[in-house]
Symmetry: C2
Subunit: 422 residues, 2 copies
Amino acid sequence: MAAKSVLILGAGFAGLNAARVLGKDSAVEVTVLDRRNYHLFQPLLYQVAMAGLSPAEIASPIRSLLSKQKNTRVLLGTAEEISLSEKKVKGPFGELAYDYLLVATGAQHSYFGHEEWEDYAPGLKTLEQATEIRRRVLMAYELAERETDPEKQKAFLTFVVIGGGPTGVELAGALGEISRHTFRKDFRRIDPRRTRVVLIEAGARILAGFSAESSAHALRDLEKLGVGVWTSTRVTKVNAEGVAMGEEFLKAATVIWAAGVQPSSLNAQLAAPADKQGRVKVQPDLSLPGHPEVFVAGDQVLYEQDGKPLPGLAPVAMQQGRLAAHNILRRIRGEETQIFRYVDRGQMATIGRSRAVAEVGRLRFYGFLAWLAWLFVHIYYLIGFKNRLFVIVQWVWAYMAYGRGARLIVHKAWKLREDREK
Amino acid sequence: MAAKSVLILGAGFAGLNAARVLGKDSAVEVTVLDRRNYHLFQPLLYQVAMAGLSPAEIASPIRSLLSKQKNTRVLLGTAEEISLSEKKVKGPFGELAYDYLLVATGAQHSYFGHEEWEDYAPGLKTLEQATEIRRRVLMAYELAERETDPEKQKAFLTFVVIGGGPTGVELAGALGEISRHTFRKDFRRIDPRRTRVVLIEAGARILAGFSAESSAHALRDLEKLGVGVWTSTRVTKVNAEGVAMGEEFLKAATVIWAAGVQPSSLNAQLAAPADKQGRVKVQPDLSLPGHPEVFVAGDQVLYEQDGKPLPGLAPVAMQQGRLAAHNILRRIRGEETQIFRYVDRGQMATIGRSRAVAEVGRLRFYGFLAWLAWLFVHIYYLIGFKNRLFVIVQWVWAYMAYGRGARLIVHKAWKLREDREK
């Protein structure tokens, strides 16, 4: 029997884990298509934005991650059109035909219809965005240092994070720590400890996906780092001056968006029922309704378990990717597919240098112990031995020295004639 | 006596070394102005372009390098105008008055009047340029892998380096090694070993600053890595298709410029005699003719020693920066300034993974021993203990695994709506 061709769109947690399952089976020939040449370890992306880690430390080339799988080839490119009837995917690379398709192109951040806010409040989903946020944060301190007008200086030293989920909490905690510790002795005119960090959350509490107890702990930890947490506060406008919340207005040079995500735009081409956000409702075996040869996994999927939709977390995507791959192999062998069931091994968020909240089943950890658990789990799952080693060294270093290893303001332009201060 | 204000323009090797000398003396108040927030270890910049090191590993924030010097403040900004009569420097930061000025803004690459070549052949002087070259090199392999037309594939797999000085030799050697070793197993359709790497040099031999014997050694080492070295060859045009050399034309998707440098454009404002390239002729004590309170150091200076101009190398800049600082202190104390004399401790260039040429006085080293010496010297001079540690780990890793740790294609645009394949 000729090998069946399996096309995987996206090499995030779902796609990469699926590729690894399929790479062991000679019944398939696998093609992995991604817009980037690297797999990104998203849970640590905020560390790049906060100058703690370098991009290369949380990203590994997909090609080298899969180079040992003889049946797998990797292509760089953007899937633009999925033709379910022709069983083809089209894009600038030409056409790719498939027998089985796994769509795992994830999610991106969403401004709920206010795309014009993006200029003033970048989101945090890609390495480029992380580098842009890092540039803005570092630049704000530099401009504050050379500013003589105290009003303007205050705006440069005000940092607003919108959205109190894990990413928002981690960003605000890191900003608090940077101002209190890392930058303490580096400036002459300004005192970085006078920095204002404000975390804005529309809901009644931060970390809504965690227990009320963990949420309260995180709040206390943030306040210890000098972060103002404004819950039940809805942002009505973001512009170059700052953030409006109804009648109120907070002047801030740096605003970061961590408030919402939307699924990949490819979902619209899957002709399947979706929820309000656009997440696709799949069959219990993760296949697309009416298309037993197409599977969908990861953040772009709406999957309800015990009456609740699963959150958009890396472990969910990894488990879905693996099950989808096994179901493809089962279908090829003529076996029955299996139903997806998420095994929850817990969730955690870190706050600053040595605090975190962690929940594993009914257990809850806080403070330094939770931070150690967080560190261990993240480094363990970080792909590639070398990256793990580097991140450990970086962290041990940063822990001892209160340092930030990657404090570079990198410009966008590379040409001589464009290389002006911006 | 009130402290005298010393303004240093540029925190490269000259400026940083001067700042460190002045930081020990309470007779001065020092301001260091730089366009970037980091000091860049230029000798290893080609490693960033070749995906061997991450930007943060060869760059350290100027602020943290100088944070222990109580008499020193660091400002981010571009010096746009030097008023020698008013003793002021102007720019977007406002005005900075000085009692003593050290101009150490270095050099950038030059296209000898063909600035339009820059689009097709980036130079290598900044981190942004290094990242752009890395993007082009990695992208060329990705596009070759998905290309079906063999002619186009060949152009994607042709890499041209223009200029056979140390940077050109190091780039060409690294390209040869990547194609032979690093990428060997990562692609399916293309064989990276079929990559063509061509190093073009207008002069009769590469590494013209070295002895003929070292030059011949470097040539043999490059040829072992499959690099074609075309000496006595003058480039007459560079465009999107490739490189023209008179009647000849070489099709290449990736061209890198390592052929020439020009001094900082601030030189034009110093009202001093200069050579054809624009380098300023200074007094033997490095002060500007007619302005005993202004000193110039580093790549933008023409300084003749034993009848020959000193080369634009890091050790020259470091020694000049230190002497200029001491001469400023001498002048403040009313002492006589000293004459600059370069102490040559040798020069070296590396070729690929484990070969190099090194010259120390009359001694010459080649091969692995020279490479070890090169490694030791570069890591020793790399600023910041943490960076040194990281680079060692990276290199030990790369040496063992034939790896390239930083193989990321990073886009310029960070916004969602601009995030298309480019």
